[in-house]
């Protein structure tokens, strides 16, 4: 034993008068560190997707309805409720939050005598830490989800204007699986899809490369999956939660990824559609997406279905209004042929009213579904419109779809900003013309799909916004036509609608083109319905106002499609047809009153 070892321990006195480290909570405040994982906070950005609940490994989160909070398209109206008896403050819920609404405060003390109190809905319950500015939030460079969409191979602009080949090439299997993998399967999109397709389920099928299961899921709600996989307006993607911090899932392309991998001849076997005749017959007017969708679901129920179509081919607007570079004919036929293969009869070139009286149909059939669409182009109704070089957009598309030359010339002005206008413009480009699109509002107000606008620009169409056509005049040459248009100022709509253009008379332009293609909108034509029936049917503006299950005041008559809804797209027509099929079945089996 050394002397040093005896003395050395007395160094302990050196620290005798040090300030204690102990912090006197709760007398003194001791805030958590700026990124402390304290109690949860949730902002108004929350849309109730429930991804926090999915990832919570402690089962500490419930999604609950909150009083005063409405569910709507893109918001389930549910909010996360935390059970602090289970929470471990790992913050996986914060990291995964698709809208980044969820975070944590640096507040960490909550004292109460009631052990059941530790259960609250973050963001909506009043908690003392709701205003905390500090606390854990996900680092910008840290991700548990994949925010970038997998690109799809497409024809270059030069290649695509050279012909009518399909522009989008479809995903490879690897790409489709990677894109499907991004989905969080929250299901927020299902309510927004007009057909309420089982979107998360079929995306999972793509991820699992199970295309047969995928096809069955698609056909539960949509017998036009090859078509919709290409040209759907994909309202679902506008509410996709992945769109909040990156690109929404390419839901439309993933639908296509399924149908592209299943050959048509295997459909029957995979879908297992067995038709057991039930002895009743239903008539359908219009072989567009609405009519054929109704025909499919009715046929599956065993109804004998006859479809009346005024044109020579089925498909309606999909055939005559959508050019083949967006929807190749064989893909539309894939959908249509499958429906017809179940024994749906289609009578082509048959006009109701002219070839067959409406009265006969309503008397002959147990029920009738009418989806004749909007096929009457609205006129410009400006001076000089009757000029022979003023064409209608629908006519141009119809000509091209039917193999006729619309004769647009080499310098074309298209009036309008919808899909018909974009397609008329792109078709004209493919026919070799220089194309200018005149639109009354701004590009961001265009009702056309953003992709169509983008692609038409890429293909060299010139988009002139805020241009109001005022007059059509003869040009120096009879093969040309002159348009007078004025610039527009945009004014806001006080009811929250689209901003409205107002003509500025002092800023007018005159331009001469080989032709002017008007595509400002379409209306319907229903003169074939005799007055005695019409009086019992409700209309608003130029459309039917159907009741529950698409039924009209004429109990046997169900209606749908563009002529009966405000959305005027294929997927809405498909759902109208499906819904009417449900209604007709109920009507004919006595569970729907007439």
């Amino acid at each position: 034993m050394s002397l040093k070892d005896l003395i050395s321990p007395f160094y302990v006195w050196q620290r005798a008068f040090e300030k204690p480290y102990t912090q006197k909570r709760p007398i003194e405040d001791r805030p958590g560190a700026p990124r402390y994982r304290g109690f949860h906070m949730n902002s108004e950005d929350c849309i109730g997707c429930g991804t926090c609940e999915t990832i919570c490994q402690n089962h500490a989160i419930d999604m609950v309805p909150v009083e005063g909070l409405e569910q709507r398209s893109g918001d389930s109206g549910l909010r996360p409720r935390f059970d602090y008896g289970r929470c471990c403050w790992c913050a996986l819920c914060v990291d995964i939050c698709t809208t980044r609404s969820l975070r944590m405060s640096n507040h960490y003390a909550w004292i109460t005598e009631d052990p059941d109190a530790f259960h609250f809905t973050a963001g909506t319950d009043a908690m003392p830490w709701n205003q905390n500015s500090l606390g854990y939030r996900r680092d910008d460079d840290y991700h548990l989800l994949v925010h970038e969409r997998i690109d799809m191979q497409a024809l270059g602009a030069e290649e695509s204007v050279a012909g009518f080949d399909e522009v989008m090439k479809g995903y490879t299997e690897e790409q489709a699986v990677l894109e499907a993998d991004r989905c969080v399967e929250c299901g927020i999109c299902v309510a927004t899809c007009p057909a309420h397709m089982a979107i998360p389920d079929y995306i999972r099928a793509v991820r699992q490369r199970d295309y047969e299961a995928g096809l069955r899921l698609l056909y539960e709600t949509n017998p036009f999956s090859s078509t919709c996989g290409r040209i759907c307006t994909h309202r679902c993607e506008t509410v996709c939660v992945m769109g909040y911090q990156g690109d929404p899932i390419a839901i439309r392309w993933l639908k296509r990824a399924i149908v592209d991998r299943v050959p048509a001849e295997r459909y029957r076997e995979i879908l297992g559609d067995e038709v057991v005749e039930n002895g009743r017959k239903v008539g359908v007017i219009g072989a567009g997406p609405g009519g054929m969708s109704a025909a499919y679901y009715l046929r599956r129920q065993g109804y004998a279905v006859t479809v009346y179509e005024s044109q020579a081919r089925a498909g309606g607007m999909l055939r005559y209004g959508v050019p083949s570079y967006r929807l190749p004919d064989d893909q539309l036929d894939k959908d249509l042929e499958y429906i017809r293969s179940l024994g749906v009869e289609v009578k082509f070139n048959t006009h109701i009213g002219r070839d067959v009286p409406f009265r006969q149909l309503i008397e002959d059939y147990d029920a009738l579904f009418l989806a004749v669409g909007l096929n009457q182009p609205s006129a410009l109704r400006i001076q000089g419109e009757e000029h022979p070089r003023v064409l209608s957009g629908l006519q141009v598309l119809d000509d091209v779809a039917s193999g006729r030359d619309p004769g647009v010339g080499s310098k074309v002005a298209v009036i309008g900003g919808g899909n018909v206008a974009m397609d008329a413009a792109r078709v004209s480009r493919r026919l070799g013309a220089d194309v200018t699109v005149l639109y009354r509002r701004r590009i961001e107000d265009m009702p056309a799909d953003p992709e169509e606008i983008h692609e038409s620009q890429a293909e060299g169409c010139k988009l002139v916004q805020q241009a109001i056509p005022v007059e059509i005049k003869n040009a120096a040459s009879t093969s040309q036509v002159t348009i007078v248009w004025g610039e527009a100022e945009m004014i806001a709509d006080d009811k929250g609608g689209r901003p409205r253009p107002v003509l500025q008379e002092d800023r007018m332009h005159e331009e001469t083109y080989d032709c002017i293609i008007a595509a400002i909108g379409q209306g319907g034509q229903l003169d074939f319905i005799p007055a005695e029936y019409r009086d019992r049917i409700e209309f608003k503006w130029n459309k039917f106002v159907p009741g529950e299950y698409q039924q009209t005041g004429l109990p046997k008559l169900f209606v749908g499609g563009d002529i009966a809804n405000s959305r005027a797209d294929a997927i809405s027509a498909i759902e109208d047809g499906h819904h009417a099929a449900r209604g007709i079945h109920r009507f004919l089996t006595g569970t729907l009153d007439g």
Binding site: S8, V12, Y21, C88, I96, V146, R207
Partner: protein, 378 residues
Amino acid sequence: MFEPNPPVDLSSGKYLKLWQGPQHPGITGNMSLELTTCGDEVVDCKTHVGYLHRGFEKLMERRTFIQNFPIVCRIAVPEPTFNEYLYAAVVEELAGIQSPERAEWIRTLNLELMRLASYLMWLGGIGAAFGQSTVYQWTVTHRDYILDLFEEMTGARVYHMYIVPGGVRGRLPEGFEGRCHEVLNRVEKLLRDVEKVLFNNVVFKARTKGLGHIPREMVDPYGITGPNQRAAGFARDLRKDAPYLVYDQLEFDLITATESDTYARAWVRYQEMHQGIRMLRQCLDRMPKDGPFQARMPNVLHWQVPAGETYAKAECTRGEYGYYLVTDGSEYVRRVHVRGPSYTHAIALMEKLAVGTNIADIAGLMVSLHTYPPEIER
């Protein structure tokens, strides 16, 4: 090579059964020692565990790969981040993910801070076990300074949940390096005081020298690793032998001793704390200040790791800490086995060393092996 302790005849009246624990025997966590004593000498020792069994390995089999990351830290309460790192390491290896360089440096910093905090707690424990409670007050306070650093780095003091498969969860906070240096300086100063008060203390020396001697030959047959092994003269350290993270870029000395008793083990650990501070300073000065800290990850909600198996290990304060992961290509873990060094030290080894020890030294002996019961039970 299991050699049972000699049998005792309890009916002889010479012996007394004495339970130490399951309250912390020492400060190591809940387990109990069933001691058979003759006078104040221990003649037999049976260990009992199960007070902390939460079934982590089983729980992990029904959670997804990301869901497992927040629970692993709980397997070794005083030193959680080794679990986080090793879990990340095995998942990354089987998933084919490489965590970025910046994350590797931050992980190293995190693990060495953890080691220092854990050793500080242990140092207090060994002091307290031999009547030097002042050391305990000092070291636990200084451990708290490190927990403050963890709080601002990771968002939590104990269960950091910061090292995640793919990297780390966030960049270092603004000004962290400076505050970290400051804490290291304070700890270094404290260590010099502890050396005077504890290691140069006549009482401490008298009670620890010769206590719990582990013969060299026992080391491998009992699976002894870490400082317990190095104090017996083995120059083995995974940071040197199988460098992981950025240890191959750090300068530090491998500490060994030969006496292989309680004092030697304490001294090795004490020296390693100085080496740890040395490494931490290198990390702070040399780590990249920008660049990614997370690898590109798939959507973690349905992350499937390819089928395979691997074992990753790291040198924690107690020795070889390891994760053995078996995957089957699904979204779930097939099997995880967590190898905690206390598994061998606190049971087979303790039962052996306790025999012939004075009752009063049992707690000190236990602390000198530095065991954490939660990592035994997983």
